[in-house]
Symmetry: C2
């Protein structure tokens, strides 16, 4: 008893990733904090899940989620061998770190970015080097290359800003780096274009997708990685043997076979995104133009701080996201786009606090 | 294009874990190869899953699977803080490696054992040192300690032999090692006793459980780890933020709240295990006494080889497991215990091949 903590010293020093708050379902609060979709998934998805809730659950699922990979290949015009499925796209990101990054190697991303990249790099024993965004928020190609990173993460649209870098810049980065470029397209279905065509040109590119945002299935935990068959093959080696359960496989296939059903919801979110950005602008916020399902807003400088907005809005029944640990985000709040009614209520609450 | 493979050199050299064959569901074959439960999960579990297949799937699940941890705490008389839930117990094993093993550190287990330990150790950049079982299959305490391993894995009942080491020996190992002892109880519900009481005595012990065997939910992917709150806290840091989806959380809670419903199936499996062992013995096989839901049988030395039995039985509609990569298991086959009818058919097929 009372032996020293046997955990790795770097793990002991870590605090772990802090996911956005998930309030108790019984509490009446509008969740605008974790970029979930305000619209339900289509009935076909729920029906496919119910149809899979049979005694076949006593059997292991298909190990490599081949049904998902085949459905995704059809949906995105790729080959199943180019596709790897994850228990959420976070699982894909974990596989990328474990496949490509040895202890002591460098990982970078233009920052601020999705904070999980740094957490996963530390868990892997790698070194996360922050490359700052330039003032114009263009891709800092030279600075990224200078880190000599083994893996470079780019979110497009970026989190938490929502802005898009030029696809030509990502191509240039792929050509010039000797490492792997990860294009995280978690939010791309809300944007004007995507990077799928780049897969034909580069053999060191991995594109990640998630069903948690545009496909309204955050509770199902399914993400996808698109890359070359060679890189996918290496990633499969570190993948948990049965990483996606039977129910999620069934639901994911149904979602991929019904992508058209998600379009009205995506269109509504894009429309409310524009409206929220304009209305917050009128109220004194500075809103970054976003191509995602959220906006990052700098709060008016003569009122509440970012953290005070978080707490005051929670009191009024709206949960938003404030990134307390990032010094560059202290005057900013991130708001997930909800339904028209939710945005009406949110804007009213903002008015009451101004 | 044509740049060198960017994967870690040790990953390039690996072949990855090979899960047991999952035949196409349309093929009429009796699966006795991956230790699944032949009996369906209780209706309450399926109903709980169906009840969770609602539009709430658009929302993330509870990150730490608190509902599962609370149900497991009640079921096993532990505190939720002692429990960590995984996307299958393989996820728990992965967390253990990532939390406690730094690059170059040693991991060991009495071998042959569950081959995933070696795979996960290599992925983590650790060194897996095989400690052979002695002829009497007792726990080789001195040999395990001599490796100075950071983590020692013990499966009880062991895979693929099905035999049990003495709990007192595990206690002695916990006292004498400066590392972590993992007691993998994947099959313990089929055995006469378990090691839960050891958790009160040792602060370097982690017990792992799975819902894939006795609880007939291999397709749901839920495993549990029981340890001290301190070690669980370190493991949570490397856990995927939302590692268990909403459907699996609902099903797992229902299973834990209905453990009594699984008892008749477990009793039937224990009964068929004894019968299969005795019948195979009469036919010239040497069968290791098993406390799990499978038996390891040495094939008669005047007939087919282990691999030939695998192929001949497949032709007759029975899929069993042969461990081609382990030299010590070339003359052995592992058979999962099925229903009485399945065992009748299997024994008939064996007769036809003798």
């Amino acid at each position: 008893m009372n032996r020293p903590n046997p955990a790795r010293p770097d793990i002991q020093l870590m605090s772990g990733y802090t996911p956005g708050e998930q309030p108790d379902a019984s509490r009446p609060i509008i969740k605008l904090n974790t970029n979930e979709n305000p619209f339900p998934p289509p009935k076909a998805v729920l029906e496919a899940i119910v149809a899979a809730a049979t005694e076949s659950l006593r059997l292991y699922p298909e190990p490599s989620s081949r049904p998902i990979r085949e459905a995704a290949a059809r949906a995105y015009n790729l080959k199943p061998e180019q596709i790897i499925a994850g228990n959420g796209s976070d699982d894909i990101l974990t596989m990328i770190l474990r496949t490509f990054v040895s202890s002591g190697q460098i990982v970078t991303a233009p920052c601020p970015t999705y904070s999980l990249y740094e957490t996963l790099t530390k868990i892997q024993g790698g070194i996360f080097q922050q490359t700052p965004w330039p003032d114009d928020l263009s891709l800092p190609i030279a600075a990224l290359l200078k880190t000599k990173a083994q893996v470079i993460f780019i979110v497009r649209p970026n989190a938490p800003t929502g802005h898009m870098v030029a696809l030509a810049d990502i191509s240039e980065l792929c050509r010039k780096t000797s490492g792997v470029v990860v294009l995280d397209e978690a939010y791309v279905d809300f944007a004007d274009d995507n990077g799928l065509a780049l897969l034909k040109e580069h053999d060191n590119l991995i594109i990640t997708r998630t069903m948690s945002k545009s496909l309204a299935l955050a509770g199902l935990r399914v993400g996808l990685g698109f890359t070359t068959p060679a890189l996918a093959n290496e990633m499969h080696k570190v993948r948990d043997s049965y990483n996606i359960n039977r129910l999620a496989q069934a639901g994911a296939v149904a979602a991929l076979n019904n992508l058209a059903a998600f379009r009205p919801g995506i269109a509504a979110i894009r429309s409310q995104r524009l409206r929220l950005s304009q209305e917050l602008g009128k109220k004194g916020f500075t809103v970054q133009e976003s191509q995602a399902n959220f906006v990052l807003a700098t709060v008016p400088n003569n009122g509440l701080t970012g953290e005070e907005w978080l707490n005051a809005l929670r009191e009024k029944g709206f949960l938003i996201r404030f990134f307390g640990s990032d010094p560059s985000l202290q005057d900013k709040i991130r708001i997930t786009i909800g339904t028209k009614d939710e945005m009406d209520g949110f804007l009213n609450a903002v008015d009451e606090l101004l």
